[in-house]
């Protein structure tokens, strides 16, 4: 099967998954106590407003008709209207999307870098005291509540040492463009990204890399490379790391939904203006259209992200047959 065909099949297979998420979203609001129209209209809606929503979304129709209406609406990109923001939900979510993606990508990059470095190191020194210490530290890091690590970082680096800003994405009176703006954002990003990387990315990557490198070190092609008289660095980078990296991709893909979930905690602790924070605020304002919109968008993002990771995996490992 060609790569193109494989991509097509994978895309087709993710349709039922996305459909499942849509159905879940649709049925949850109908299972909830109360009238869906009232739930969607918000707390302070008038009788007329509720009736308007009922007609607009066809909530007085049979359930099957409603479902079709709902699916049609979502296909058009209409996720409903937030009465709290007085904006379409799609616009509200879109305005918060970049901040979350920035946080996710930077924490993944940082965690992968750290995990691979330490994982290779511990595998190289397998069974040594260094190995025991680093692996133990990783187990501890994995057990930390990510929001607690955030609080402790705020305490140490924000309050005691005063090195880094503790909340938000930019300073109130900071530069609004150019290099100065990005430095400002980077300073705000440092703690949220590090806390996510340390708890949810690095320990997993370390564990997988360590196991992979230990295994590859014992394989014949590694011995051949050494027997050829290649330098240790060359053996490590050309032969060992390349092969030990692959399982990481799968794990990163599987971990994506965890990382997205983690962002809600991190964004709440650090006041980071992303989708997690949006969801948190919407919860307390009972802004249901936004809550459901964020849920839908994050779930679909995870599906597509997993798909991309899966494709990368096939690209990097020619041994895997495209089925």
């Amino acid at each position: 099967m060609t790569l193109l065909r494989y991509v097509a099949v994978r895309l087709l297979l993710s349709i039922p998954v996305i459909l499942g998420i849509l159905l879940l979203n649709f049925f949850l609001i109908h299972l909830a106590p109360g009238d869906p129209a009232e739930i969607l209209a918000g707390e302070f809606a008038s009788k007329e407003a509720i009736q308007a929503i009922r007609t607009r979304y066809g909530l007085d129709q049979p359930l099957a008709v409603q479902l079709v209406t709902y699916l049609r609406r979502v296909m058009r990109g209409d996720l409903g209207f937030s009465y709290d923001y007085n904006q379409p939900v799609a616009a509200v979510v879109a305005s918060r999307f970049p901040a979350t993606i920035l946080l996710l990508l930077s924490s993944q990059a940082l965690g992968i870098l750290l995990g691979i470095t330490l994982g290779t190191l511990t595998a190289w020194a397998y069974g040594s005291r260094l190995d025991t210490m680093v692996s133990g530290a990783a187990a501890v890091a994995y057990s930390l509540p990510v929001f607690w690590l955030g609080l402790m970082m705020i305490l140490v680096f924000g309050i005691w040492l005063r090195w880094l800003p503790t909340s938000g994405m930019t300073s109130i009176l900071g530069p609004e463009e150019g290099a100065g703006y990005w430095v400002d954002v980077a300073r705000h990003l440092a703690m949220p990204a590090t806390s996510l990387a340390l708890v949810w990315v690095a320990p997993v990557v370390l564990r997988i890399t360590r196991a992979g490198v230990v295994e590859v070190l014992g394989e014949q092609f590694t011995m051949t490379a050494r027997a050829k008289g290649l330098s240790e660095e060359r053996v490590l980078f050309r032969h060992v790391l390349r092969n030990a990296m692959l399982p990481n991709l799968t794990i990163i893909g599987l971990n994506l939904s965890l990382a997205v979930s983690g962002s809600i905690l991190t964004e709440t602790v650090f006041g980071w203006p992303g989708m997690g924070r949006l969801m948190y605020e919407a919860m307390f304002k009972r802004d249901y259209p936004v809550i459901m919109g964020v849920f839908l968008i994050t779930a679909v993002t995870v599906v597509l992200g997993t798909l991309v990771v899966d494709l990368l995996y096939r690209l990097f490992d020619p041994r895997i047959e495209l089925r």
């Binding site: 499942g20 509540p145 809550i291």
Partner: protein, 277 residues
């Protein structure tokens, strides 16, 4: 392998023993909470925000409640929540893994898609959505967490069953006319369940973290002393009374680490080929 041999192997594993010790101590604290905590977790025992040491080992919170007592009672909440969610996940995982593993074919395909949906869902977002719609009672939390974490158990169970069902003893049972349900219940389940149990222990660790997260986000029952909620309250006092944020965090991390070590230890003693981590 005999139970004694398993136990011996488990006890040689230093991390596993540490994990077991932590879990046993937490269980004791939870059961004996009314006896060992110096005060009631709800009683206003002294002035607010007392420093740790002196009359109150870990100080008092803003309302003047004893932090140590609240921590001890919090163990109960945390364990009950996590055990409830993990048990639900164990039952669902075993049943919903047996069926596709045994029947295969289109049943398996259908189940695989369902697993995929559940594994992809951003769990905390779903829990938030459900809490927003259905309320924040602890029982709802337990059920939602259980309903979202079972697929990893089901996947393990399915893989085990698929490799077991080709074995002679299953063929023999089929030849003797045993019904599919009898084969699944009597022959496949007991032989397939071990890795699922190890995984469920790890899920307890995950569920403790979720319970704490819900408390921290303000989605747990305010009448129960939960560790996450203590951290939520501590946020406002980070500048001056920073210790309020330290103790609950340590409690959560220790208990999670305990279950992680225990789960890994069980997994390793069942399958010694695993690389120790």
């Amino acid at each position: 392998m005999s139970v004694e041999a398993l136990a011996r192997r488990f006890l040689r594993d230093r991390r596993a023993v540490v994990g077991l010790a932590i879990v046993v101590m937490a269980a004791l604290a939870a059961v004996l909470a009314p006896v060992i905590s110096p005060h009631s977790p709800h009683a206003l025992v002294g002035e607010g925000l007392a420093r740790p040491g002196g009359r109150y080992v870990m100080g008092t919170d803003r309302l003047g409640r004893d932090v140590l007592s609240r921590l001890i009672w919090g163990t109960r909440i945390s364990l009950l929540f996590a055990l409830g969610a993990a048990s639900l996940s164990l039952v669902l995982g075993v049943v919903l893994g047996l069926i596709p593993g045994y029947f295969g074919g289109w049943v398996d395909h259908l189940f695989s898609r369902v697993f995929e949906v559940f594994l992809t869902l951003p769990r905390l977002f779903l829990i938030l959505l459900v809490s927003a719609l259905f309320g924040t009672r602890a029982t709802i939390g337990v059920v939602v967490v259980g309903l979202t974490i079972w697929p990893s158990n089901a996947r393990l169970m399915r893989a085990q069953v698929m490799s077991l069902k080709a074995r002679p003893f299953v063929e023999a049972a089929t030849a003797l006319g045993a019904t599919p349900w009898r084969i699944m219940g009597r022959h496949l389940l007991p032989n397939a369940i071990n890795p699922v149990v190890a995984n469920t222990t790890l899920q307890i660790a995950g569920a403790i973290l979720i319970e704490a997260s819900l408390g921290f986000l303000g989605l747990s029952d305010v009448n129960l002393p939960s560790w996450g909620q203590m951290l939520r309250d501590a946020q406002a006092h980070l500048q001056k009374e920073w210790w309020l944020a330290v103790f609950p965090g340590l409690a959560i991390s220790t208990l999670v680490l305990g279950f992680t070590f225990l789960g890994d230890g069980i997994g390793r003693s069942l399958d010694p080929r695993q690389i120790s981590s």
